[in-house]
């Protein structure tokens, strides 16, 4: 008989301090990007740009070449190598047929996407050219670089149409307004973003970003522009003459690149701190974060956010493709479901059409509750096995909170000693590695410290039998705990300092009876008060 009086209450994950990362639609959406494909380039990848039209190749500027990749198979389609020095800022024209790139030899080269030899070479800059973009009318390009000048070129004649010498320092970024033919926007290391109007040859607007500007971006409507430099992004209202709308600072190192997603509802920023952050344009809150292995120099998003390409300082190029649409996933689910249903149906076909008679006793088929392995062992009071089941990699790597909950349940049942004792080298090292990895986690520490103590207690008695590898792990655990202890002491010292500052602060306020505004000010900045 397999009945029981009440349901077995399964182990619940150990509650982790802090708010769970919210599972918003954005998370799901950006999680859809698959595991990255990385390609090694010859130098730091300074720029990535997608072809706006089919076949949606993307141009990668790295070292002395510009390479076209096909996102379908992640293979290079073509290499433009007619550069005499480092190539910068290769971008496509709106129709996707021409490509322009700057060069460290101060020349700007224009290529046909199908060709190999530059169609035009624009000479005039005196220092490396970092920014090259096509203007909206498709007949002109603008370029800017280390000679502080911004030039607008006529493609057919290779002549300079306009030259703006307003910037005081290197110009490192620029863009054109999508809805106006004559607006050019550039950001420079002189901390300013300037807007030029080719009709007047004048700088029509200046905003001061406060740090060297690494990237600028303009909304398609042309009314709001974003500038990135230092570790912050600033949002400016163009229509109000450059009023600062918002400052967003979520990176802790210089932001190097900014991009819109395909429909301009999200902004992506890449930074030297190895993160790509995605912001909602309505609130400028971070909605998602993607980690990379190296400082990020450039990024771009393909049409419909199908592909995210990120160029990094260690000359790696990372390509992430979106899983082929969610619809397919659903289909898979349906297939699975129907398969399961079919299986069930084949099992219980007999009862489908049966109508019971009045006097019949109906016994409902009970579906067996699916329990996790460790729960099954807990139900059978096999505590050692339950612990082993919680220490398999799937559980303890992906859900350490489950493993900690199992530890806690063992403590509750007073069987932790028995469960921990008598482990072989393999299991013991897994256990110790788990402790080493998680013992400094604030939420788990109270439980894991107890467990670690018990492990040491149990195995210290027979330490000569313990293999060397395990002893090394014990030593590592000791070191980690020691380090954590030191850290805690430091933290307490810091807390003590802060307490004295705050309390002296509040006393000062009481004495001087200042008005509330200053109280708030001093409360927020206790350090400054101490200095004074």
């Amino acid at each position: 008989m397999s009945t029981s009086a009440s349901r077995f209450k399964v182990i619940e994950p150990f509650p982790v301090a802090g708010v769970d990362p919210k599972h918003t639609e954005d998370h799901q959406y950006w999680r859809g990007l698959q595991f990255p494909i990385t390609i090694k380039e010859f130098g730091a990848v300074t720029n990535v740009a997608f072809q706006p039209t089919k076949p949606n190749f993307f141009a990668v500027s790295a070292s002395t070449r510009v390479i076209l990749y096909n996102p379908e198979n992640n293979e290079s389609v073509k290499t433009f190598s007619r550069f005499h020095d480092v190539a910068y800022g290769a971008t496509f024209r709106r129709d996707g047929r021409l490509l322009v790139a700057g060069n460290a030899d101060a020349k700007v080269r224009l290529f046909d996407v199908d060709g190999r030899v530059p169609l035009r070479i624009f000479k005039g800059h005196t220092r490396p050219v970092r920014v090259t973009k096509f203007c909206n009318n498709m007949k002109e390009i603008f370029s800017a670089g280390d000679d502080n000048s911004v030039r607008v070129w006529d493609i057919p004649t290779e002549k300079v149409l306009h030259k703006f010498d307003h910037h005081q320092d290197y110009v490192r970024c620029g863009c054109v307004s999508r809805n106006a033919d004559n607006i050019i926007l550039t950001g420079s290391y002189d901390h300013t973003v300037r807007m030029f109007d080719t009709r007047s040859d004048e700088c029509t607007m200046i905003v001061n970003h406060g740090c060297p500007v690494e990237s600028v971006l303009m909304y398609p409507s042309g009314s709001i522009l974003l500038s990135a430099g230092g570790n912050r992004i600033k949002v400016w209202d163009v229509l109000q003459g450059g009023r600062l709308l918002a400052t967003v600072s979520h990176h802790h190192k210089t932001i190097t690149c900014l991009r819109f997603n395909h429909d301009c509802t999200r902004i992506l920023s890449g930074s030297l701190d190895r993160h790509v952050k995605i912001y909602d344009v309505a609130t400028y809150n971070v909605v998602h974060n993607i980690d990379y292995s190296a400082p990020i120099l450039s990024l771009d998003v393909a049409h419909e956010d199908k592909t995210l390409v990120v160029g990094m300082a260690d000359s790696m190029l990372s390509i992430r493709h979106r899983k082929q649409a969610v619809i397919k996933e659903q289909k898979e689910d349906e297939v699975l479901l129907s398969r399961r249903k079919r299986r069930q149906r084949s099992h219980f076909m007999g009862g489908q059409t049966f109508v019971p008679n009045q006097g019949d006793v109906i016994i409902h088929h009970k579906h067996k509750e699916q329990l996790e392995k460790y729960d099954v062992y807990f139900r059978k009071f096999e505590h050692g096995k339950a612990l082993d089941a919680a220490l398999i990699p799937q559980v303890h790597m992906n859900t350490p909170e489950i493993t900690v909950a199992v530890f806690e349940e063992l403590i509750r049942r007073d069987t932790i000693h028995a469960a921990l004792a008598g482990k072989g080298e393999k299991k013991l090292s897994v256990l110790l590695k788990f402790l080493i990895r998680n013992i400094t986690n604030i939420s788990f520490a109270p439980v894991l410290m107890d467990v670690a103590e018990m492990v040491v207690d149990i195995y210290s008695q027979a330490i000569e039998d313990v293999p060397v590898s395990v002893i090394n792990l014990f030593q590592r655990l000791r070191d980690i705990i020691r380090r954590e202890g030191k850290l805690q002491i430091e933290m307490h010292k810091l807390l003590g300092c802060m307490d004295t500052i705050v309390s002296s602060n509040s006393q000062n306020i009481k004495q001087s009876d200042v008005d509330e505004a200053t109280i708030n000010a001093s409360n927020t900045d206790p350090v400054s008060l101490k200095k004074s």
């Binding site: 008989m1 009945t3 029981s4 009086a5 209450k9 619940e12 301090a17 007073d414």
Partner: protein, 715 residues
């Protein structure tokens, strides 16, 4: 002239402390419960009848040997009473003048019954004749059978057709033909020295054999018992801990046993059936006469009716409060109109005190019941220390619970729950792990004005939790004052001011405007609990130290009055009227209003009160209980209330009131209403049929009359 009030028990008490029995037709389960015998209906799960007459604890009940619908009950008040349990009538009383610990009768011995009398140094088993029960003590013909019976006698003595067994810890006394004074024969079996102590015993209904349960979990079946030298015993061992109860089925083919593991074991000839996870230790097993139903009494004060194919048919819950005290006190929940307190281990009990009915046990801790490996070292349990209910905002009502394993000093969790209207159940919203670092939480209070909750701890922190739509409940403020322990917190009725008792100081703060604490009222002694007055006393704050009751006017920041009361135990506040009540350790109660120093009412209670609660009610005869009644819970977990003398009889006849009143529980209420509806329609149909029948044929008249009777009853 004030009416003198009396305190009357309305419910509570353990239903599993003593053995319960099935009625012969298996329709009812009878169990001793405090001074009452409760008759539960197995089909509906409701208390069908209360046999009220004993003035002390009823210790045991058994069937009358001859009359099917009668039972005998023994009580500590020294009487044996004979009852008709279906009609609830006391038939006769037999007074022994000695506290009785048990009564036994067997259908084979029609004229005699056996009682255990408690005397100063030993308990003695006596036989007496049932034939004519005289009213005078001296007339009872008693004859002594056995001396020095073990105290927990009901499980240690068993009667069969031909013999009776009295077990001591390591010996057995078998009486052959115990009903005859002349022919009885005593046989003594002594267990070997190293044999485990006997804990329970059961006789085979037909054969000359019996089974004993032992302290180490063994079960021994004894055969050939009339032969002293060649008695045969076979040992079965599954239980790892003491066997607490043992019963042969009525045919004798199987044995049921239960113990601390909470697993019911059915021993067949060569196999065993198990029913695991009953939730608590099994203290007693009863088998119905047809062997189709088993009644399993659990230590957590509930009885499960289990069918012979091991499904649970019905549950009867007593006032399932754990241990000797209620750590979370009693709260009133306006949603269900119930009192909320600790129930089964890790559960919250929702209890209707006016009807003595349990609504449900809500699982808060969600842990499996695990029996300890060693009975000497019981496993510590995570208890619910505090519970609080919030007001209804945006149509959502909240509850917060605080749980803590005090023995191990771990597993401190604050849980916030939301009542889901669609599912009609509490849904867990937020778990906060060790909110106060295990430093003894002292109070948990919800703001009446918004979704905010305050928890205070001995470590001196008051934490204020706010509900956020996405993140759930978050601590937004943590207040402390000179590292003094924070003993209590209270909100003013409009929720604008929060008062916190830090040591001997009361601080006020306005949590909605996030202002600093201000206006401190100080006293020389540490303040234990504080309450804001209600309604017309909103400006008054009542505080209790261990020796003094204080009342401050918050508007003028001055002491309004103070009064010296010796050893204050606890203070409670009625949220629906201005009344407050203070209880002392010497069991005095003072009911007062903050605006008046003189108490309305004071009384010396005869019971040890551990918790009390005001419950709103309408029909009350006592002036100060016009809006709400005061219910008290004693240390023995019995529920009491105050009654006017004239009302006492009424209250004691509660049983009848209950049967008549249809409102029982929301669920059964709902069910019974639907059942009634369908039943009524069925009845009306039947009425038509019967009338047709009458017109058609006359010889079914008797049946029709019966039908009509039942109809009348129903309508």
């Amino acid at each position: 002239m004030k009416e003198s009030l009396q305190i009357v028990q309305t419910g509570g008490s353990s239903i599993t402390k003593f053995n319960s029995i099935f009625s012969h037709d298996s329709k009812y389960l009878l169990c001793p419960c405090g001074n009452l015998v409760k008759v539960f209906s197995v089909a509906t799960g409701e208390c069908f009848q209360r046999l009220n007459g004993h003035c002390k604890l009823v210790t045991m009940i058994c069937h009358h040997p001859r009359v099917q619908l009668q039972i005998l009950s023994s009580s500590l008040d020294g009487t044996v009473k004979v009852w008709d349990y279906e009609d609830g009538i006391l038939l006769s009383t037999c007074d022994f003048n000695v506290p009785l610990l048990g009564i036994f009768a067997h259908s084979c011995y029609s004229t005699v019954a056996f009682v255990i009398q408690q005397s100063d140094d030993s308990n003695e088993l006596y036989r007496f004749t049932l034939n004519t029960i005289p009213s005078k003590t001296s007339d009872i013909a008693c004859s002594l059978l056995a001396k020095n019976v073990v105290k927990d006698c009901s499980k240690r003595i068993a009667f069969s057709e031909k013999f009776a067994v009295v077990s001591y810890s390591n010996r057995l006394l078998v009486f052959i033909n115990p009903q005859h004074a002349e022919r009885d024969e005593k046989i003594r079996h002594v267990l070997k020295d190293n044999a485990p102590a006997i804990t329970c015993i059961s006789c085979h209904p037909v054969e000359e054999c019996f089974a004993t349960g032992h302290a180490n979990g063994e079960i021994r079946i004894w055969f050939n018992i009339s032969d002293v030298k060649n008695v045969i015993s076979s040992i079965q061992h599954w239980h790892s801990l003491e066997v607490l109860s043992l019963k042969f089925s009525s045919s004798g083919s199987t044995v049921l046993s239960g113990g601390h593991e909470g697993v019911l074991v059915q021993w067949l000839e060569d196999s065993k059936n198990f029913l695991p996870r009953l939730g608590s230790a099994i203290t007693n097993v009863a088998v119905s006469k047809d062997s189709t139903l088993f009644a399993v009494s659990l230590l957590d004060n509930s009885i499960l009716i289990i069918t012979n194919y091991f499904t649970i048919k019905q549950t009867f819950d007593g006032f399932t409060a754990i241990g000797q005290n209620l750590p979370c006190g009693i709260c009133y929940d306006s949603n269900t109109n119930a009192c909320v307190t600790n129930g089964k281990p890790g559960h919250l009990l929702f209890y209707l005190p006016d009807k003595d009915i349990q609504l449900y046990n809500l699982d808060i801790v969600s842990r499996n019941f695990i029996s300890s490996v060693d009975l000497e070292k019981p496993l510590s349990k995570t208890n619910i220390l505090k519970v609080g209910f919030g007001g209804t905002f945006d149509g959502v009502k909240h509850m917060a619970t605080m749980e803590f394993d005090q023995a191990k000093q771990r597993d401190e969790k604050l849980k916030f729950w939301r009542f889901s209207d669609t599912d009609q159940q509490w849904v867990l919203e937020t778990i906060v792990k060790s909110p106060h670092d295990g430093c003894g939480i002292t109070s948990l209070t919800f703001s009446p004005a918004n979704n905010a909750c305050v928890t205070t701890s001995q470590a001196g922190f008051a934490k204020i939790w706010f509900k956020h739509d996405e993140e759930g409940w978050l601590c937004e403020m943590s207040l402390s004052f000179r590292d003094l322990p924070c003993n209590d917190s209270t909100f003013s009725e409009d929720g604008s001011v929060l008062a916190l008792a830090f040591g001997h100081t009361v601080c006020f703060c306005d949590i909605s405007n996030n202002e600093e604490m201000q206006l401190m009222l100080s006293h020389s002694e540490s303040i234990k609990s504080i309450f804001f007055g209600r309604q017309s006393c909103q400006h008054l704050l009542v505080a209790a130290t261990s020796e003094e009751l204080l009342c401050w006017n918050v508007m003028t920041k001055s002491m309004y009055w103070s009064s010296h009361i010796h050893k204050i135990n606890f203070l409670i506040c009625d949220i629906h009227s201005e009344n407050m009540a203070v209880f002392t350790n010497s069991n005095k109660i003072f009911v007062f209003q903050p605006s008046d120093k003189q108490p309305h009412y004071s009384h010396n209670l005869s019971i040890d009160v551990t918790a009390a609660c005001f419950v709103p009610s309408k029909n009350c005869h006592i002036a100060w209980q016009a809006k709400s009644e005061l219910y008290l819970v004693s240390k023995e977990m019995s529920v009491h209330k105050f009654c006017v003398k004239s009302e006492v009889d009424d209250a004691s006849n509660l049983s009848r009131m209950i049967i008549k009143s249809d409102q029982v529980t929301p669920m059964s209420n709902y069910l019974s209403s639907t059942q009634q509806k369908t039943a009524k329609t069925v009845n009306s149909n039947r009425l038509q049929e019967t009338t047709v029948d009458v017109s058609k044929c006359s010889f079914h008249s008797s049946e029709i009359i019966k039908c009509g009777k039942s109809l009348i009853k129903f309508v």
